[in-house]
C-alpha cells in the first residue's frame, strides 16, 4: 500500500488541478489503487484524508452534483483559499516578528510554522527583555468571532452563556474576554482560561460593539478609583513602614509623600473613590500600613479586622 503522505499529496494535487468537481469514484480511479476497493472502506479512508487535510488548514469544497451524476457529492480545492496571499513583509519586519515570538512565546511550534509560511528564516536573535504570554485553546476562535462581529456561546462557572464579544485583553498574565452577556443582560468580563472545556460555539447572530466602548478602560487600572468622578475623590493619610515604604512610594508617586520619618517609614496621601478598594489596598500591606485619617476609614479597617480576628 502506498505511503499515506503520497496519497494525500496526490489527492491534493488532483483536487487543486481539476476543472470540475470530482466524485469519490473518479478520485479513486485517478489515484489508481491508492484507495481500498470496497465501497465502505474507500469512503472511510477518504473521510480520514479530508480530516487530515482540514487539520493542516486545507478545506475541501463540496457540492451535490446534478445531471448524469445527480445525487453524488463532487469535491475540489480552491487554490486562492488554500494559499497565503503575498503580505509584502520585508526582511526587517520578518526578523522583528521572529524576535517578538522569541520574547513572548519561546519554543512555540505554532509560531515557528507561521514564520515558515511567511518566509522567515531560522530563529537566531537573542532576547534581553521578555514577557510570558499564556495561551488558551479557545483564544483563536474567540478572536475570530470578535473580528467577524459574531456572538459566541460557552460554559463558564458551570453556566451556559451567550456573549457578544467586544474585546480581548491580556493583563497581568491572564487573557480576558470583555463583552455583553446576553444571559445576564449586562457587560461582563471572563477569564479566557476558565471558559469551559475548550468549547466555544460561534453563532450566526451579528454583534454591534458600542461606539463608545474602549477596551483600555474595560478593567480599571486602579481599583481604588472605581466609580470616581471629580466630586467623589477623597484622600486618606496612611503610614507605611520602612520595609514597604519603597514600593508604596513607587506605586503612588513621590508627590504623594507627606512626610519621611527617621525610622524609614513614610506618610502618604492616597486618593480614593471606593472605600472597599482602599481598605483592601491597605490590608494588603499587613502590619506595614496603618490608616491615620480620616476616622471613618480607620474605623472601617478596624471593623473588618475584628470580624476576621473573632
Amino acid at each position: 500500500m502506498a505511503d499515506r503522505v503520497e496519497r494525500l499529496t496526490n489527492l491534493l494535487a488532483l483536487l487543486l488541478e481539476t476543472r470540475e468537481p470530482l466524485t469519490l469514484d473518479v478520485i479513486a480511479a485517478e489515484l489508481g489503487g491508492q484507495y481500498p476497493d470496497g465501497h465502505d472502506a474507500r469512503r472511510a479512508s477518504f473521510e480520514r484524508d479530508k480530516a487530515a487535510l482540514r487539520d493542516i488548514g486545507i478545506e475541501i469544497s463540496s457540492e451535490t452534483l446534478t445531471g448524469d451524476r445527480a445525487g453524488q457529492m463532487g469535491y475540489w480545492v480552491v487554490r486562492n483559499e488554500m494559499e497565503i496571499p503575498d503580505l509584502g513583509l520585508d526582511e526587517e519586519e520578518l526578523r522583528a516578528l521572529q524576535l517578538a515570538l522569541a520574547a513572548t512565546r519561546p519554543g512555540s511550534e505554532t509560531g515557528r510554522e507561521a514564520m515558515w509560511k511567511l518566509g522567515g528564516g531560522p530563529d537566531d536573535g537573542q532576547v534581553f527583555v521578555a514577557m510570558s504570554v499564556p495561551t488558551a485553546e479557545v483564544l483563536p476562535v474567540l478572536r475570530g468571532a470578535l473580528g467577524d462581529r459574531r456572538a459566541v456561546s460557552f460554559s463558564y462557572a458551570g453556566v451556559d452563556r451567550v456573549v457578544e464579544p467586544w474585546g480581548i485583553l491580556l493583563r497581568d498574565g491572564f487573557w480576558y474576554l470583555v463583552g455583553h452577556d446576553r444571559s445576564r443582560g449586562d457587560r461582563r468580563t471572563f477569564r479566557v482560561d476558565r471558559i469551559g472545556e475548550g468549547r466555544v460555539t460561534v453563532l450566526d447572530d451579528a454583534v454591534v460593539v458600542p461606539s463608545d466602548f474602549d477596551i483600555r478602560s474595560a478593567l480599571p487600572a486602579d481599583p481604588m478609583m472605581l466609580g470616581a468622578d471629580q466630586h467623589s475623590v477623597r484622600s486618606a493619610r496612611v503610614s507605611i513602614g520602612r520595609q514597604r515604604a519603597f514600593s508604596a512610594v513607587r506605586e503612588l508617586g513621590h508627590d504623594r509623600v507627606l512626610a519621611r520619618n527617621e525610622d524609614g517609614s513614610v506618610e502618604v496621601a492616597v486618593p480614593f473613590a471606593n472605600l472597599d478598594a482602599l481598605v483592601s489596598w491597605v490590608l494588603g500591606f499587613l502590619e506595614h500600613a496603618v490608616v491615620l485619617e480620616p476616622d471613618d476609614v480607620r474605623d472601617e479597617v478596624v471593623r473588618r479586622l475584628r470580624a476576621v480576628a473573632s
Binding site: 505511503d3 503522505v5 503520497e6 499529496t9 496526490n10 489508481g32 493542516i56 488548514g57 483559499e81 494559499e83 496571499p85 503575498d86 509584502g88 513583509l89 526587517e92 516578528l97 524576535l99 517578538a100 520574547a103 519554543g107 509560531g111 510554522e113 515558515w116 528564516g121 531560522p122 534581553f128 527583555v129 521578555a130 514577557m131 510570558s132 504570554v133 483564544l139 483563536p140 478572536r143 475570530g144 473580528g147 462557572a157 458551570g158 467586544w166 474585546g167 480581548i168 491580556l170 493583563r171 498574565g173 491572564f174 468580563t189 460593539v209 477596551i215 478593567l219 520595609q243 519603597f246 513607587r250 483592601s280 499587613l286 479597617v301 478596624v302 475584628r306 470580624a307 476576621v308 480576628a309
Partner: protein
C-alpha cells in the same frame, strides 16, 4: 537536531512538505543540509519525503508531477516549479500566535511604534483581512526594566540594593543580568548574583536602588527561558477555600487548581496555590467575611492571627 525523534505522523510530514516545497520552488536549488536545518527536520527524513514528493502529482501524466530531484552531492534541484508554489494560509491558531506575540512585544520597554514590528503587524492585519483592533495587551514598564534590559544587551554588571521579601532585609549585590521578563504582571531579572554565585531570578520591584557598572564577564547559561508555568509548580502548597459571592473575584485573579459550582447561596469552593503565608494572610484580610479556610489545618489560623497582630498596631484589641 536530528535522530532520536519519534515516528512522524502523515499530517505532520505533509504539513512540513507543504512549506518546504514552495521554498525550494522559489529558489530553484538548495542543499539538503541547509534545507534540513532551516526546517528543523533530519536529513534522512527530508530526503525520504522529497523523494516521495517527486513521484507525486497527477498520474499517469508524467509532466504533471512535482519536478525535483536530489543530485549526488546533496543538492536539491527543482525543474519546473508547479503545483505547490505558495505556502498555505495561516491557520487561526497561527494568526493569533503572531498577533498575540507581536502585541505583547510592542508593550515591552524599547518597542518603537514606528518600528519594523509594528509595520509588520499592520501588514499582517491588512493582508489577512484581520480586524485585530479589539485585542489589547497591557503591561506596566518601570524604568528599571529598561535599564536592566540595556545592561543585559551590553553585557554590563549592575550593583543593586535588593530587599528580599521572605527575610525582609536589604542586601547589596552585583547582578549580571541576562534577561528581564514579565510574568503575571510582575517583572523579574534573571541574572548571575555575586552574593550566592548563582544564576537566579530577582523581582524588579524589590530592587531599591541600582547603579550600572562595567563589563560583567559572566556569559548567559544555555537554555535561559521565559518561565511560563510559574504557578504550576507542584511543590507550592495549596489551600482549600470557601468563597462568598463578593469574594469570587479570587478565582479570576489567581491561578486555581479546582473550582466548584456555586451553591444555593452563591458560595464556591476553590483550591489555590499559596506562594507564602504572608500572601495568604493578605488575601484573607482583604476577603473578610467572604472567605472560609477549609484546610489544611495549618492554614486555618493564618487570617485570625494576622488580624490580631494588626489590631494591636492600631492600638485596639
Amino acid at each position: 537536531m536530528s535522530g532520536g525523534r519519534a515516528a512522524r505522523s502523515a499530517e505532520k510530514r505533509l504539513r512540513r512538505l507543504l512549506v518546504v516545497l514552495p521554498w525550494l520552488m522559489e529558489r530553484g536549488a538548495a542543499s539538503v543540509a541547509e534545507t534540513a536545518q532551516r526546517f528543523d527536520i533530519s536529513e534522512s527524513d527530508l530526503v525520504r519525503d522529497l523523494e516521495l514528493a517527486s513521484m507525486c502529482g497527477l498520474p499517469p501524466y508524467v509532466d504533471e508531477l512535482i519536478d525535483l530531484f536530489i543530485d549526488d552531492d546533496g543538492t536539491i534541484v527543482v525543474g519546473v516549479p508547479r503545483l505547490f508554489l505558495r505556502p498555505l494560509r495561516l491557520t487561526e491558531e497561527e494568526a493569533f500566535e503572531l498577533l498575540a506575540a507581536g502585541r505583547a512585544a510592542m508593550q515591552l520597554p524599547g518597542a518603537d511604534p514606528d518600528g519594523a514590528l509594528n509595520r509588520g503587524l499592520r501588514k499582517l492585519a491588512v493582508g489577512l483581512g484581520e480586524d485585530d483592533t479589539g485585542v489589547l495587551v497591557v503591561s506596566p514598564n518601570p524604568s528599571e526594566v529598561t535599564r536592566l534590559a540595556e545592561a543585559a544587551r551590553e553585557g554590563l554588571e549592575v550593583a543593586v540594593v535588593y530587599r528580599s521579601r521572605t527575610r525582609d532585609e536589604a542586601t547589596e549585590r552585583v547582578l549580571s543580568p541576562f534577561l528581564t521578563f514579565q510574568d503575571h504582571g510582575n517583572w523579574y531579572v534573571m541574572a548571575h548574583d555575586s552574593l550566592s554565585d548563582e544564576v537566579r531570578a530577582f523581582r524588579v520591584d524589590r530592587i531599591e536602588s541600582m547603579e550600572v557598572g562595567g563589563a560583567s564577564g559572566h556569559v548567559p547559561p544555555e537554555g535561559i527561558d521565559v518561565p511560563n508555568t510559574w504557578f504550576a509548580d507542584a511543590d507550592i502548597a495549596r489551600v482549600d477555600l470557601r468563597l462568598g459571592p463578593a469574594g469570587r473575584w479570587v478565582v479570576e485573579r489567581y491561578p486555581v487548581d479546582e473550582v466548584s459550582e456555586p451553591d444555593g447561596d452563591g458560595w464556591i469552593s476553590a483550591r489555590l496555590a499559596v506562594t507564602g503565608e504572608a500572601w495568604l494572610a493578605r488575601l484573607l484580610l482583604r476577603l473578610g467575611d467572604q472567605v472560609e479556610v477549609v484546610g489544611p489545618e495549618s492554614m486555618r489560623s493564618v487570617g485570625r492571627e494576622a488580624a490580631r497582630r494588626l489590631l494591636a498596631v492600631y492600638g485596639e484589641t
